[in-house]
Structure formats: structure tokens, C-alpha cells
Symmetry: C2
Subunit: 523 residues, 2 copies
């Protein structure tokens, strides 16, 4: 993994406007009375009593007490207190001279197995001021979660993995600058991540996550101070991790549900996030069921010969004229093609299918062995960039797993596919895949296009929401308490479904009326 390549990492968020901001930390301007013989309360007590008028019982740590009288006198009794929510009440974590209430910053963080995004949030306005993204430094210790968990069991492995993600985070935090603030002025952080990423960040052994009965050490770690982890912001800044539900359903998924709003709608929605892992959630305001599994890197370029991540030079869009068989494509950054990323692959498959190059079994027709997407003379390497039958088969395994898992979830709750009113596509899976092609090959359901919603980096957006809103945080915890996890590995019906679901777009073509129409019109 080279850091010289500028990766395309999903940072865009579908930002919901939040009303009535109640961030994890508050800044309160205090104008105190200089002590006199009439009011000779102790300085610390006066600060606490003023804050307690609005914030209930307030805790002032011993470490801050010596600074309070000094700042009181140097700043002529005008000061700003920063209060942090500790889950039980408020703790003063900083005292600054004068009125600094407008300088109020926090971080929303999305830690993916592959990529990490840090957003600097203005806690007064709720807006994203800047963001920075990079690959997770842990990748050198394993591309997928299972490899990382194994690595954490080696001597010093857990500490190395923790240090790696902290290095990534602290480097990204520094890269948010130059700004008119120091990193110490960032006084809160909220994190969306899968359960293993949270364990590694907190230095907790993830071994039990992948061993029956698959219990993590903790699902809801509560509030942890930045210095306990080593996150280089204000040392007493509260760090809140979105709660997870279990080993395979992390805070990133809870965050996705939160951002989608599906937990508040009477209609049934389907939520899908396919990254290094895949998670599927089905439900409405009354019930939520979910399943998850390792998705493999199918959509991150890992299963095809010429697959690559969505970096410069990746083929990201493909069209085939069904009449002539002529292909047209685009690449990230308009550079000579180096490979094919997820969206390019989805387009290629859909176009091959619509043009009749592959059939409903996803098999090349008429003796074709492979399809040249980019001819040698246009490719950066000077070699043809192709999609082979093996590539297609590998991809179909992922797609088939998504289809069969979804079908099992629906069967399990007795929900027919006609009942699904909304489809929420999270992460890069939702953001970059071409909707028509994704429907054509059956990755997305064939709903009215307005009912297909791309959530963007919903893990990062959920982190922003819980950073800024107490009610959103309680909502996230309520979601975590409500989701029923459906164990696929324990279900032999999954393998039956799986082997029967490797069709384009789906075993049951009637579920895909728009695709059926296009096939008929192309025929």
C-alpha cells in the first residue's frame, strides 16, 4: 500500500440538518464575581456553582483546580469552561481565559478495515470544516479482519495494530491543519467502526470475536478519554464509539441505520453495506433484523485479475453498445487505464448481460473466453485489460451471497420482496456503483429509482450526528438494543439459497421488472 497514490476514499456524507445541537462537549462563558468580603466563595466552587445552575452536578477534576484561580485573575474573572458529557453528568475538561465559546471543535471519525476518514466538525454550527482520508495503516498486518485478529494474537500484535490505527488517525488529524486552532482545542470525538476496529483501537483483544459463541469484550464502551487511547486531541476529550450489536455488526452499521432513518419509518426498508465485510439490515420502526459476513474484496477490486481499488487509472464506468458490441469507458482521473474498480466491474457485467455476451447464468456465450475492456494500446501497462469467466464467477459468489442472505432475512421475518419500500446503499457500495447497472445485475433491488438512496459515508455521518446530538446518541443506543442478529453461518438454509442464487439479476426474474423489460427490448 503506497501512500503516494492519492486514494479515492468515500468521505461524502448525506448530511442531515440537526436541530437543537447538543454536542458531547459544551463551552460555557462565565463572568465571575471577584471575591470580596461579602462573597468570598472559593474560586473552584464559584465556577462549579455557576455551571451547576444549567448542568446539574458538575465534576471539576483535581488537575484543573490549580489553573482556575490563576486564569480567574489573569483574565479578570472572564473565562470559558469546556464541559464534557461523561454519560452520567458533566465534567469540566478545560478552562480558558476570556470568551472562546465560538472556538469549539470535534471530530467525527469513520474507521474502516481498509480506509479511515476524519472530519473536523464545528460544534457551534454542526458543519464539517475539513476532512482527511487515508488507508488504514493496519493493512500491512492483513487486508481483512480475520487476518488482523490472527495477527493480534501474535507477540506484540495487538499493540502493533492499535499503534497502526492511532498513527493513521493522528496523521489525519495533523493533516487537517493549518487551521487557526491547535489539536488540543478539539475537545470531543465520535467514532463509527466495526467491532474489531473498535477493539483494536481500544487495545482490547479481539480473539473472541471470531471464536464461537462470537462474543466481543464490549459492544458499548461508553465514554473514554482521548489520552486513555492515545488520540492526539485534548487529553480529556470524551471519545464516544457508536455501539455495536455483536462481533459482526458494528457501530458502523448502527450508524448506517441511524442515518437512513429506516428505524423510524412504518414502511419496510432494506439497508446494505458491502465493503471488506457485508452487512444487511431489514426492518422498520417496529423491528429490525440483520445479518453480516465477510464479503471479500469483490467490490474493492480484489477478486478479478485486473481488479483494483478506485484509485487513479481505474476503469470506473463502462458502456457496451448492444448493437455493435463497441465498448466505451472512463477512468478515475482520466489517466491511462491500470485496472478495473468495483463500479467499472458492475458496469461491465451489466453491459455484458444486457448485450447478450453473458447469459442469466453469468456465463460467456458463443465460445467467448474473456472480454477485453481496455485494449493493450490504451492501457498503462501496454497489455489488454480483460474480464475472464473466472473473474465473473468470483464476483458472482459475492453477489449471490448478498442475494441469498437478503432472501433468508426476508423469509425469516415473513416479508415479501414487494413489501420493501426503500433501499439504502451505504458506503462506497452505495456511493460509486452505477445504479442502473447495480439493479441490472441484481446487486440493488429493482425499486423506483427515487426509493434507492445512496447514504454516502454513513458511518462518518452517524459519528457526526452523535457527536452533535444527545438525542441521536440515545437513538443509536436504542437501535443497538432493538436489532435482532441473524446468524448466517449457523443456518444451513443459507448454503441452499446461495447455490441457487447465482443468476443475473436473480433466480426470480419477476423481482426485477425493469431489467426484464430491458432484456425483452434488447432481444
Amino acid at each position: 500500500m503506497s501512500n503516494h497514490q492519492k486514494p479515492v476514499i468515500l468521505a461524502e456524507q448525506v448530511q442531515s440538518p440537526l436541530i437543537n445541537l447538543k454536542p458531547l462537549t459544551r463551552k460555557v462563558y462565565l463572568s465571575l464575581n471577584p471575591p470580596s468580603s461579602l462573597d468570598n466563595r472559593a474560586d473552584v466552587d464559584q465556577v462549579r456553582q455557576m455551571l451547576e445552575r444549567s448542568y446539574g452536578c458538575v465534576n471539576v477534576p483535581l488537575a484543573l483546580m490549580p489553573r482556575i484561580p490563576v486564569i480567574c485573575r489573569s483574565a479578570k474573572w472572564q473565562l470559558t469552561a469546556t464541559l464534557a458529557d461523561n454519560g452520567q453528568g458533566w465534567t469540566v475538561i478545560d478552562i480558558e481565559p476570556g470568551d472562546t465559546t465560538r472556538e469549539h471543535f470535534g471530530l467525527a471519525i469513520d474507521i474502516g478495515t481498509t480506509t479511515v476518514v476524519v472530519y473536523l466538525i464545528d460544534l457551534c454550527e454542526g458543519t464539517v470544516l475539513r476532512h482527511a482520508a487515508d488507508y488504514n495503516d493496519q493493512i500491512v498486518m492483513g487486508e481483512d479482519i480475520l487476518t488482523r485478529i490472527r495477527h493480534s494474537g501474535e507477540l506484540g500484535g495487538l499493540a502493533r495494530l492499535q499503534a497502526a490505527v492511532l498513527n493513521t488517525l493522528n496523521r489525519l488529524i495533523k493533516s487537517l491543519y493549518p487551521l487557526p486552532i491547535e489539536t488540543g482545542k478539539i475537545t470531543a470525538a465520535a467514532i463509527g467502526a466495526n467491532t474489531t476496529m473498535i477493539h483494536l483501537l481500544l487495545g482490547l483483544d479481539p480473539a473472541s470475536i471470531c471464536r464461537a459463541p462470537y462474543t466481543p469484550i464490549v459492544n458499548n464502551p461508553g465514554f473514554i478519554s482521548a489520552k486513555e487511547i492515545g488520540l492526539e486531541i485534548h487529553p480529556l476529550a470524551p471519545v464516544y464509539c457508536l455501539p455495536s450489536i455483536g462481533s459482526y455488526l458494528g457501530g458502523d452499521v448502527i450508524g448506517g441505520i441511524l442515518v437512513s432513518g429506516m428505524h423510524q419509518q412504518s414502511d419496510i426498508s432494506l439497508f446494505v453495506d458491502i465493503g471488506t465485510n457485508g452487512e444487511i439490515v431489514l426492518g422498520n420502526e417496529e423491528w429490525l433484523v440483520a445479518c453480516a459476513g465477510a464479503a471479500g474484496p469483490a467490490l474493492e477490486g480484489g477478486v478479478t485479475t485486473y481488479g483494483m481499488r478506485a484509485e487513479p487509472g481505474a476503469v470506473d464506468h463502462v458502456a457496451i453498445d448492444p448493437k455493435t458490441g463497441w465498448i466505451s469507458y472512463s477512468t478515475v482521473g482520466n489517466l491511462p487505464a491500470r485496472g478495473i474498480c468495483g463500479s467499472g466491474l458492475v458496469d461491465t457485467l451489466a453491459e455484458l448481460f444486457l448485450s447478450g455476451f453473458i447469459n442469466r447464468n453469468a456465463r460467456f456465450q458463443n465460445g467467448l473466453q474473456e472480454f477485453v475492456v481496455v485494449p493493450a494500446h490504451e492501457a498503462a501497462s501496454g497489455e489488454d485489460i480483460v474480464v475472464s469467466q473466472v473473474d465473473i464467477n468470483n464476483f458472482m459468489a459475492t453477489k449471490g451471497a448478498v442475494n441469498s442472505a437478503t432472501d433468508l432475512l426476508m423469509e425469516n421475518v415473513g416479508c415479501a420482496w414487494q413489501e420493501i419500500s426503500h433501499f439504502y446503499a451505504a458506503g462506497a457500495f452505495g456511493q460509486y456503483l452505477p445504479i442502473e447497472s447495480a439493479v441490472t445485475i441484481g446487486l440493488y433491488p429493482d425499486l423506483p429509482r427515487s426509493a434507492i438512496v445512496r447514504l454516502g459515508n454513513s458511518s462518518g455521518e452517524a459519528a457526526r450526528q452523535v457527536l452533535l446530538s444527545r438525542s441521536k446518541r440515545l437513538e443509536a443506543e436504542a437501535i443497538a438494543g432493538k436489532v435482532t442478529y441473524f446468524e448466517l453461518n449457523a443456518n444451513s438454509a443459507f448454503m441452499d439459497k446461495f447455490s441457487g442464487s447465482k443468476f443475473l439479476p436473480h433466480t426470480d426474474l419477476d423481482r426485477y421488472p425493469s431489467v426484464k423489460r430491458r432484456l425483452q427490448s434488447n432481444a
Copy 2:
């Protein structure tokens, strides 16, 4: 100050039985469900959820999380959690294998300017298991509070003073052993001490305590963890300091009021503690007024030529036959006399007065210059141990200050001396002074003897009570919010009273009917 001498330090407490013990820390035995596919909650979450059934929102620190799964498995899912009150809710501070709920210990601590007492409390039963006492190591940096405050302003002075009191405390804690527990099993502490002692213990600059407008840095420090101070018990043990009211009215006095119960009686009581400092409180369930000042070491042997603390060889009781003028005395430990301690001095003065050797002005009669308490041949040094007119004058200054301060307090609230129903004498001043003699010279009021109550080490007893009882802690905080401090230094009437109050037993002899009768019968 030699540590080889075994000091007589007041450790006795008038222990009130406490009903419904609610100590600062609780131990809760948990029998968890081993995780299964039916209940695969995370270990930390299961522990927290079980505790939250009885304790509301419970915080589990990150530092404890890695140990929970390990102990769960090694102890077959039977474990004991120690919860600490943090003022806002409960935090888990320890997890032990098996059921250790009966091993539950805390410390009640009295830190005096001169002496320090540590009590080991069984938090299950509420009883004192052991105690240890010693002089405060800070004494080498100054005998009185003002000298210590000055010392704290020197380079490194504050750190030296903090280290000195911590050395004293940690040495005393170790001296509580051998016991079947480690110091790490002591999971809570409560402290009664004056405001300066608390500042020095917490490492807070006490400079403002002795500078107008006499505001401490903090009066109510709340809960502080033992490791933040350096107290060598469980590092996360909450340390609670009885709240103070101001620079000169500390948690030791609030504790005295709490233990006396005067704040809950309809009758008016007078509370007096004369140690290195003197504090006087007057009031009832409706109001409380208090004043304080440096008492000087009059009762600790510091103002007379042959004065000494109540150590072995100190003359502690004296009687003079009014007919013959013959003297009899006893010494601490029945050793050859080395000097006279407070109780011996009070006896000597009372007996000199009743025998007519000194008059109501406390002046020797008939040309006498001094009085030989112990003749040379009985004294350890081989020299006469005497009380001189200068010694008496110095002592009368302290006594006069106590009388005039009390009178001013009463005048201030319009309370006549006949209205006082109870007299609470705290500390060594209450424990060791002979009651009849103390009344005779006017240190104690002339009340029915059953209304004169010795409170013992009420600072230590109050610490025990708030360690064990949440309602007592709230009561202490309510007292701190209720007492009106009466500033003597700011009151020119004090000096007038003072100069007029150097009589035996008091300017107004009618206030001392029993003394008046004895004088008449001796005449």
C-alpha cells in the same frame, strides 16, 4: 519532633451507630451467564447491565475492560465488582474473582495541623478495625498553619508539604498491618481536615487562604481518586474530603457539627474545638454561626515555660488542698515529670484559683512569683517544674479570646448565655481537659455536667460517617451550605471584648453559678 516518643494522640471517637450503611464504595457479587449462541452479549456489557439493574448508569473504565473476560473465564463467571460513587453515578473500580463482598475496607482519616489519625473501617459492618496515629510530618516545616502557608510559597515548598502529609498517611496505612488484606483492597477514604491541610494534601496553593479576602481555591473538592493524590490504597479509590466553609472553617469543623447533631436540635448548642486553631460554632436546626482564629498552642503546651504535649512524663492532673496548699499530681505513663500538658495546666490554674493563690484577674496573691507544681527532686530533669505569672498571662490570652469570641457570636445573633442548652467540646480540648477545672477557669460554660459532651476525635468520626453513609455526606454538605461565618478579625468589638474578658472564670461571674458557689464555700 521525635518519632521515638510515643505520642498521645486523640483517636477515640464517640461512634454513633449508623443505620442503613451506604458506603462510598459497594461490592456486588455477580453470577454471570457464560455466553452462548442464545445470549452472546459482550462480557463487559453483561457485567454493566447486571449492575445497572440496581445502580443506574454504571461506568466501566477502559483500563478494567481487558481483565473482565479473563476473570470471567478463570473464575467460572462468578465475580465481585467494586463500585465507587463519583458524585454523579457509579464507576466500576475493581473486578475480583469469586465472592469477596465480605472483604470491604475503607479509611476514615483525620488530618490535623499537628496530628494525623487513620482508621481502618470495615465497610460491611461500619466498625473501626484498627487505627494508627502520628504527628504530621509537615511539623518540621512549621508548627502552625501560617508558617506552613509561608513555606508553601518557597521554591518546591508546596510539593514538600504535600509529600510530608502523604508520607505520614502512607506510613500510618502500612502500620495498620499485618492484616489479612493488602492496601490495594482499601477502596475508599474520607477525610476530615482544616482547609489548609486539604489544600496541601491536594497540592493546591494555600496562599490565598491567609490573604484578604481569604478565599481558598476550593471548599468542596468532590471525589478525587487515590492515585491523583498519591494515597497508597486502591488507585481508583474515591477520596472524599469533608467540605469546608472557608479559609478558617474546615471540614474538620463541619464534621464536628455533624457528629454533635446540633444542626438537628431545636435547642441552641455551643460547639468549641481548640487545637492549633480554635473554632466556635453556635446554633440549632434553624441557624448556625461560626468564628475561628489561630488559637496558639496554649493547650498543647506551647505557651508556658514547662509546657509540653501530652506525652509520657507530662503532668496531666493536679490537685491543691485549699486548706494546706499541698499539691498532688499525676503524669502520663506515671513517669518522672518532664513538663505540664494542657490538662495539667487547666487543673493547676483552676486549683490555684479555688485555693486563692491567684485572684479573679489571674494574678498571684501575696507576693508569690511562681508556683512549684513538681519539686526538683521529683522531676526528671532535677529542676523545679513551675508555673509563672507570665505563663498564666499567656494562657489567659487564649482563654480570653475563646470567651470574647463566644460572647461576640452570641451578641451577634441575639442569644443570651442562659439559652445555651448543650456544650460540645471537640478534639483533645474536649477529650482530655478535666471538666470541673475547665468550667472553673471559664474555658467550658457552667452547664449541667450532663449537657457537656466530649465529642472525641469528631473529625475522624465524621470521616467515618460520610465514608459509610450517603445521607451523612449530604447532611455534611447541607451544614456547609448553612453555616454563617463571622469574621473576628474584621470586628473591632472583638478587641474590646478581648481586653475585658481576661477574668476567671469570666467577666460576668453570674454566668458561672457552680464556680461562684465553690469560691464562696472555699472562702
